[in-house]
């Protein structure tokens, strides 16, 4: 594989990671917790698309919209049922609950759909786009374009709208935001909804690029996307995008030039390195601990 096609591959996988990482980063920014179940929500998104498109025979747009709405709802419900009761308790309790939710979703889908991989509907046209002498598959192009669009819209939303302002306020200081008349509960729900909805797009792209889905897909994807979020500086949307693309590139280069078996190890190595050298991530700001 040539250098250029490695880059394209990396960027397209990276785009998918970025879409998932945005969810982690938004939830962390606002609820100060790692939503361990985020990867599983993406898995659910891929399955919803499969069910609506392949089993119910709906058009693609409906399937994708259903998956986005379904995931957004799932995100909100998870938050309300599992995380909200623990909002004021220690991180250990929240973390264990999040692991529980992730496990619950994974095993629920394992029971419903079985552990065998299911062929994901291939609704994109075959073939490649030729662009500046490079050939890019439709999935790769779509992944990159969607990542850019989602990040752009999200940044626009967070920085310019009133709801976005509320979000930023809640992430800065929950108590003060509440005193200013912001509905903290609704804002947190909205964040979970947006993060999970964008994650669903990532799930669809996963299905399109690997064409096989199984209930375990969320685990690894989730961890890698989380690493992307940490790399970019958790809590920062731009950072999640850049981190996602960087992780994708690192993975693609390892596969091409070293060995495919070590690609996961390299990604984990990046996590360890970044946490030890600059735990705040590339775009993060070091926050001093107040006593």
């Amino acid at each position: 594989m040539s250098f250029l096609s490695t880059i394209i591959n990396g960027l397209s996988v990276g785009g998918m990671y970025a879409l998932v990482a945005i969810g982690y980063t938004m939830v962390y920014g606002i609820a100060k917790m790692i939503n361990f179940a985020h990867g599983e929500i993406i898995m659910v998104g891929a399955y919803i698309t499969y069910v609506v498109f392949s089993l119910m025979g709906m058009p693609v747009i409906v399937a994708v919209l259903a998956s986005i709405i379904g995931c957004a709802l799932l995100g909100v419900v998870t938050e309300k049922v599992a995380y909200k009761p623990l909002r004021n308790s220690g991180s250990l309790a929240v973390l264990i609950t999040a692991i529980g939710v992730s496990y619950l979703l994974q095993n629920l889908f394992l029971l419903i759909f079985g552990s065998a991989a299911i062929t994901f509907p291939d609704f994109l046209p075959k073939g490649q786009i030729h662009f500046l002498g490079m050939s890019i598959s439709y999935v790769s192009a779509l992944s990159l374009v969607l990542t850019c669009i989602c990040t752009f819209l999200l940044l626009l939303f967070v920085n310019t709208t009133k709801l976005g302002k509320a979000m930023r306020a809640v992430s800065e200081d929950k108590g003060a935001a509440e005193l200013m008349g912001i509905n903290v509960n609704n804002t947190i729900s909205l964040t979970f909804a947006i993060g999970s909805g964008i994650g669903a797009v990532g799930g669809v792209i996963y299905g399109l690029s690997y064409s096989l889905i199984n209930p375990y897909l969320g685990a690894m994807l989730g961890i890698k996307a989380f690493i992307a979020a940490v790399l970019g500086g958790i809590g920062d949307i731009k950072g999640a995008m850049v981190g996602g693309l960087l992780i994708g590139l690192a993975e693609a280069f390892t596969i091409t030039y070293i060995s495919s078996t070590f690609s996961d190890a390299v990604v984990f190595g990046i996590l360890i390195f970044i946490l030890l050298v600059k735990p705040a991530g590339l775009f993060g700001i070091n926050v001093r601990e107040k006593v």
């Binding site: 917790m33 790692i34 599992a82 009761p85 623990l86 308790s89 991180s91 250990l92 309790a93 929240v94 973390l95 264990i96 609950t97 692991i99 529980g100 939710v101 992730s102 496990y103 619950l104 994974q106 095993n107 629920l108 394992l110 029971l111 685990a219 961890i223 989380f226 690493i227 940490v230 078996t261 070590f262 996961d264 190890a265 984990f268 190595g269 996590l271 360890i272 946490l275 030890l276 735990p279 601990e289 006593v291």
Partner: protein, 315 residues
């Protein structure tokens, strides 16, 4: 050691001996068949795993998801010693546990600067890296599995390994060092200000925890006699965590009971084996919400009320 402590020690040791004697008698006389004695061996290994994880997660308060990784280091190290160096079983076990402790120390020094969520993720990452290494280096025979490990684990050795683990961790927790470890869980900054070398105690607890995980790994390797890297993945770590959480974080007795129950119960619930993991997940969520929301008194109240009502009806 105070007189009271000595008496307690002798009493507990005698109790352990009595339990051991009862089980041995039951096994030899055929009351417990070989199938169930196998399950008892697994239960004892799980006791070692859950009590050791409880030291790191329950008492130290650092949630680690790498326990299966340490277990695999211990398992492979001891198995390789037994196969290639021909060391005796006890020596192999000890080498395995030391190897796991060493890896725990190496991982612990840099990572324990991190807290909470990050520590959890990074230990998970190390777990995966260890698994990938085991999968790809030649000496472990990769995904095909390491075979030819002598079957040396028997009930006696696992039982006393479990007893020693419980005793050592109990002694640590009850000692001055244990109080330092617990103070880190309660408030790291405050305990640092009180002059407790927090980094030292974090690494100490983490390393001891890894040591016993390695011991459990060695016992497992010499019981199953074939090692496949896939066994020691994230799910295994979560399974151990479920035992600790169900038994109660920072509760040694609870860990022991939960480990035994969660090993034996699935055998009775064979018909529901598909739902086992689902149940684990619900246990994790429910245990946390009930504990944090302090629902237990309410639940107890409800039950006792019902009893009272029943009594009234009966009267």
């Amino acid at each position: 050691m105070k007189k009271k402590d000595i008496r307690q020690f002798i009493l507990s040791f005698a109790l352990a001996l009595v339990i051991y004697g009862a089980f041995m008698f039951a096994m030899n006389s055929g009351i417990i068949n070989s199938y169930w004695s196998g399950i008892l061996i697994v239960a004892c290994i799980n006791v070692v795993l859950s009590t050791s994880l409880n030291l790191a997660s329950g008492y130290l308060g650092q949630l680690t998801l790498g326990h299966a990784g340490f277990m695999s280091v211990g398992a492979y190290a001891s198995a390789l010693c037994s196969i290639y160096l021909g060391t005796s079983f006890i020596v192999s076990l000890f080498i395995g546990a030391l190897a796991a402790a060493l890896v725990g120390l190496l991982i612990g020094i840099p990572t324990l600067r991190l807290k909470g969520d990050y520590l959890c993720i990074i230990t998970l990452a190390f777990n995966e890296i260890i698994r990938i290494i085991m999968l790809n280096i030649g000496i472990t025979n990769g995904a095909k599995g390491l075979m030819g490990i002598p079957m040396s684990t028997n009930f006696t050795i696992v039982f006393f390994s479990a007893v020693i683990t419980i005793y050592v961790i109990y002694s640590i927790v009850k000692s001055r060092h244990g109080r330092a470890i617990i103070s880190i869980r309660e408030d790291e900054t405050a305990s640092e200000l009180a002059g407790i070398p927090t980094s030292y105690y974090k690494i100490l607890a983490f390393t001891i925890s890894a040591f016993f995980a390695g011991l459990a790994g060695g016992l497992y390797a010499h019981y199953i006699t074939i090692l496949i890297p896939k066994v020691f993945d994230y799910n295994k770590s979560v399974e151990i965590l479920v035992m600790v959480v169900l038994g109660g974080l920072g509760n040694l007795k609870g860990s022991v009971i939960a480990a035994i129950v969660l090993t034996i119960l699935p055998e009775y619930l064979r018909a529901f084996s598909d739902y086992r993991m689902l149940l684990y997940a619900i246990v994790l969520i429910a245990a946390m919400i009930i504990k944090e929301k302090n629902l237990m008194p309410h639940i107890k109240e409800k039950f006792s009320k019902k009893k009272d009502e029943n009594k009234e009806v009966a009267e």
